[in-house]
Amino acid sequence: MTMRIFVPRDAAAVGVGADDVALAFAQAAAARGAAIEIVRTGSRGLCWLEPMVELSTAQGRVAFGPVTPGDVPSLLDAMAGNGQHALRLGVTDEIPWLKRQTRLTFARCGVIDPRSVDDYRAHGGYRGLERALTLTSDQILADVTASGLRGRGGAGFPTGIKWKTVAQASADRKYIVCNADEGDSGTFADRMIMEGDPFVVIEGMTIAGITVGATKGYIYIRSEYPHAVEAMNAAIVAARRAGLLGKRIGGSAHEFDLEVRVGAGAYVCGEETSLLESLEGRRGIVRAKPPLPAHKGLFGRPSVINNVLSFAAIPFILDNGAKAYADFGMGRSRGTMPIQLAGNIRYGGLFETAFGVTLGELVDEIGGGTFTGREVRAVQVGGPLGAYFPRALFDTPFDYEAFAARDGLIGHGGIVVFDDTVDMVKQARFAMEFCAIESCGKCTPCRIGSTRGVETINRIINGERVAENLAVIEDLCNTMKFGSLCALGGFTPYPVMSALKHFREDFGPAPARLQAAE
């Protein structure tokens, strides 16, 4: 009997040797004349176990990991025999870290072959679109609005309202734009879903297209993600061949097609108006709003621009109904969030769960603390523009409003863990440096403020007039926060001020002690 073996092709797995493992399986099987079929899937998101391979059995898939090419011969023996092996992790779906999750968006990621429309359909794919094709635009809008889905890129704007604005706009052309410029350090959910389940993004964008009356969509993927670009392009070709993109989608009267565009290394292009400029072939300079992209977006036409995860949440909502999604979550944060646990963390990876889980549960229980085994000192939530949280704030529930109330943001759901060797004044300086490097240059607070910020923090590090320079930093942060045109300059103060507020001891002697010494 042919053994079906699943080996991820996700970049995180490939980066730790998954391709070599797949090759070793093929060679070892050929050498012993064993019949095996290797299916390259996405990643299940248990990154510390990558490369994690799975075997199809009567009890379901059984996982083994982390696997090196040297483990393959003994693994093949175990797979053909009684299944026992030192790397055996048990039935994949029963692994506690996975079982504890609520996988709505990532239900198929790591399970299916991301190159196969048939596999996607066999796992419930395209049921959302099928239902959408039987509904009117207003009915779809009602579902999306009632689901409570908010933009997963970070701003948290209600998706239903955005779509409705575009649906009501009249124009000769409208566009659907997917923001796959996932530049925040500590985030990789967009990359994972594009590599592991690209059809769910295509399906979500297609539903958006038929809802608002757009026939063309663009997916803007950052150049740092070559595997995702390849996966999306392959999936688009497969969807076209299956009649699910192009004219007469799924036999309906609707037309919709997609094109991938690749960024060129500018972080600011993750900001939606800058992304639109870039798609139009220009410098990624932020546009002033209004007009909103929903009124005047790509090429001046009404455009829906959403994050990858927002589009990827849509098929579930259309398939299972708004209530099934909205039943998860807390307060005004409905549904699930694919949270990414990263940095110095023992059990890092993708953890999709309903809003409301606390930061402490995520870092300590689920993440298992640091991989260095040292104390967790700070966690940065929400990327380079997100605040640093100390252990004292670990009771904060994962929720848009709860984080805002503590001068932070959940952003795109990335959590980067640092141990007690971190120097927070250096992290504050890095935030300013990064802003200076990536500023588009349009507004003064961001362009000049970030450079002055680096200089001033350097003075603090050198111990020059610390109290006065800290006052300058505070003032500068206020100017940037309230005077910048977009979130790059506007949110850089979050990491800087949170580092200063919660880790003041890293910024040199406190004023009182300074006076006492004089």
């Binding site: 510390w48 990558e50 925040d184 350090s185 967009d190 690749v262 960024g263 060129a264 410098r283 890092g348």
Partner: protein, 158 residues
């Protein structure tokens, strides 16, 4: 791979530009295609792109210089990019970057004197749960430690 690029050729450049000139907002697509063929965007190509897209030379030059990816000169034979963003910093990336700089004798953003290796920072490869990470000529590598960074540097120097 950075080896095996075509030398700049006006006719070939024109052909690449013409291939994509009909797309909506084609500038970035064309610059990417030129760099893929020649390893950088040769200066004579800028006015050609402008002409093909009915833009000013300054506009195309502005786009070309705005984005970190586009090169105005060929890179070394191998390009080693080290992720320098927060998740990799948290996982010990600072020390590994310093180690790579010392081994190669160049700082991030520069090419070795023998043109073999270009060492660059990159701000996030999205491999943040297998940090620190790097990319050598398009191949991704995670869970870097001293031994792995040494092996990568040695591979790039070959």
């Amino acid at each position: 791979m950075t080896v095996g690029y075509e030398p700049w050729d006006t006719a070939r450049g024109a052909e690449i530009i013409a291939e994509h000139a009909g797309l909506e907002g084609a500038t970035l697509v064309i610059l990417h295609a030129l760099q893929e063929a020649f390893g950088y965007v040769p200066e004579p190509a800028i006015p050609m792109v402008a002409e093909a897209l009915n833009l000013s030379r300054a506009e195309v030059h502005g786009v070309f210089t705005f984005y970190h990816d586009f090169r105005k000169a060929p890179a070394g034979r191998h390009v080693l990019k080290l992720c320098r963003a927060e998740a990799c910093q948290a996982a010990g990336g600072d020390a590994l970057a310093a180690r790579a700089e010392a081994k190669l004798g160049v700082s991030l953003g520069n090419t070795t004197a023998d043109d073999r290796v270009t060492l660059e920072p990159i701000y996030c490869l999205g491999l943040c749960a297998t940090a620190p990470s790097a990319m050598l000529d398009g191949r991704v590598i995670g869970r870097l430690d001293e031994a792995r960074i040494d092996a990568l540097v040695a591979e790039a120097q070959r």
